[in-house]
């Protein structure tokens, strides 16, 4: 089977987010980057499906030249090749992003059986790119999936709900958005990293469908107000235990 996973490069924000002076982006000068967590699991799932059923796994990203680093990271754990839709680094809105992905999928010589996304990106969290892509390609789509079973061209997908799991059945080709927890992504090996350097990445500049003006336009980013909490230090080391227990009694949980 041919499996595509769509991923986004996002900063590793650590404990505190700082903004650029123009309030249009996160200050990333001192930060590393990664793939959104749900999507990292999507890549692992693509690799496992191809290991089990044969075929090819492909990772696609829309982002700046530096996002090739994320494609190489995924190729190091087993993705076969990359598709890089190059931008100047400015964020694309969900409709434009979906349009570019659809065009790239249609340009492939052979269709994909399965297109995986994360349910939402770690940073923007728009919850919609995958569903827009599915509609544009005329494919069925299921959301927030934590287990995928393939049987021929049938897919059984499970979505966690309070107290259990909802089960969906659909026929490929299909679009599935996955959530962290569907698997535990593997770490790259040294030989894996060496192989990744030789794997192909097709880079191109995507056209912006629907014009340059975004209909969901970022005006500025704002840091939420600090909690204003002043921490009460109960003590240092094991000597703090009696004070902790007093607090637990005051709250009524003991």
């Amino acid at each position: 089977m041919r499996v595509l996973v769509c991923v986004k490069r996002v900063p590793l924000t650590g404990g505190k987010i700082n903004l650029t002076d123009d309030e249009q982006a996160i200050q990333t000068r001192h930060l590393g980057f990664t793939v959104s967590p749900h999507e990292e699991c999507g890549a692992e799932e693509a690799i496992r499906l191809v290991e089990a059923h044969g075929g090819e796994s492909v990772a696609l990203t829309l982002g700046p030249a530096e996002a090739e680093e994320q494609l190489r990271d995924l190729m190091a754990i087993g993705i076969d090749r990359g598709i890089h839709l190059l931008t100047d680094g400015a964020e694309w809105d969900p409709q434009a992003t979906a349009g570019a992905i659809v065009a790239a999928v249609k340009a492939e010589p052979e269709p994909f059986d399965l297109i995986l996304f994360g349910t939402e990106s770690a940073d923007a969290g728009n919850y919609q790119v995958a569903i827009r892509v599915a509609y544009a390609l005329g494919l069925p789509v299921v959301n927030g999936i934590k287990a995928i079973t393939v049987d021929g061209s049938s897919l059984r997908c499970e979505h966690e709900v309070s107290g259990g799991r909802d089960v969906y059945e659909l026929t490929m080709p299909a679009v599935v958005t996955v959530m962290e927890g569907i698997n535990l992504p593997r770490y790259p090996s040294v030989p894996g990293r060496m192989r990744a350097k030789r794997k192909p990445v097709a880079a191109s500049e995507p056209a912006r469908v629907g014009g340059i003006e975004s209909k969901l336009k970022l005006v500025r980013l704002v840091l939420p107000e600090a909690s204003g909490k002043q921490v009460e230090i109960l003590g240092h080391g094991p000597e703090a235990a009696p004070r902790v227990v007093e607090i637990l009694q005051e709250i009524g949980v003991l």
């Binding site: 967590p37 728009n126 919850y127 336009k217 902790v244 227990v245």
Partner: protein, 292 residues
């Protein structure tokens, strides 16, 4: 002018919040729940029904809760109408274009944006406004516009979760361990304290990535969102990914050897020190107080 709100059920708190937020657009609010009969939950069919009802009633906006289903159904609506959608808003104001403030990074960052759509499509972030009982919820059947393709993807079965233990999402007390626990075996001190308190055991993403605990224990932006009376975070530095999952906790007690760790800036109570010494001491003290 009317604003259509998709309500998951009349007593669903997040849906109640969505109705309150929809009111700030200024138009009369029409709250609808969907009874799909034997079909059950089928996101495309539910979305088509909202599209048809919105058109019939001349709705200028469609709003839902920023829940799993709310965001999913609204994304289907957005794709069907080829209109923009703003997910997880904490504030909205009508206008041309409309102005929204929405959540990024699970709430660690906010975005002010212009939403230029017709109808306006948006979801409300959890707990951005206080819930109020909904005056009237109209239950509607699937519309005639629902196609066979819309019905094709639906919930065909629901399997119960494997039981046992205190549910992380509903627990009154959660005791979590982070990278500072050091190993899977290191969690024995966390488990011991949790058992004494009748608490659920949680962990940070670093711990699940290392394979020390299952993902179902993870508190965070990509894990479980918790809202206990008290959250006891042991050896957790306080990355934004983690804090997005525990900001619903009423009180936070942080135990960390590094007094400068960012978790202390969100904590109500703090103990500086090694969790492997502090946590067993707390367990021993509880036993002593209980006289056992």
């Amino acid at each position: 002018m009317t604003t259509l709100v998709f309500v998951e059920s009349p007593d669903d708190e997040l849906s109640q919040q969505a109705v309150v937020m929809a009111g700030s657009l200024g138009a009369p609010v029409s709250a609808v729940a969907i009874d799909a009969g034997a079909l059950g939950f089928a996101p495309a069919a539910w979305a088509q029904t909202l599209v048809d009802v919105a058109r019939e009633r001349g709705a200028t906006a469609i709003v839902a809760a920023g829940s799993d289903r709310g965001n999913e159904v609204m994304a289907h609506v957005a794709a069907k109408l080829d209109q923009p959608m703003a997910a997880n808003c904490i504030a909205i104001a009508a206008g041309s274009p409309a102005t929204v403030t929405r959540v990024r990074w699970g709430g660690s960052l906010l975005e002010e944006a212009q939403l230029d759509g017709s109808p306006l499509l948006l979801t409300s972030a959890a707990h951005a406004v206080a819930a109020e009982p909904i005056a009237a919820v109209e239950t509607i059947a699937l519309s005639d516009g629902v196609s066979e393709a819309d019905r094709a993807v639906r919930v065909v079965d629901t399997v119960p979760a494997g039981g046992g233990g205190v549910s992380l999402a509903d627990a009154d007390v959660v005791v979590s361990g982070g990278r500072g626990v050091g190993s899977a075996e290191g969690f024995s001190v966390i488990e011991e304290l949790a058992e004494l308190l009748g608490a659920a055991v949680g962990c940070s993403r670093a711990v699940t990535s290392a394979g020390w605990r299952p993902h179902s224990d993870q508190v965070g932006q990509t894990g479980t969102k918790i809202s206990p009376e008290i959250y006891i975070a042991c050896g957790i530095s306080g990355a934004t990914q983690h804090m997005a999952g525990c900001k619903g906790a009423k009180r936070l007690l942080a135990i960390n050897p590094d007094g400068e760790a960012s978790i202390f800036s969100s904590a109500d109570y703090g103990v500086t020190g090694d969790l492997h010494e502090v946590v067993p001491a707390i367990s021993a003290e509880i036993r002593k107080v209980r006289g056992s």
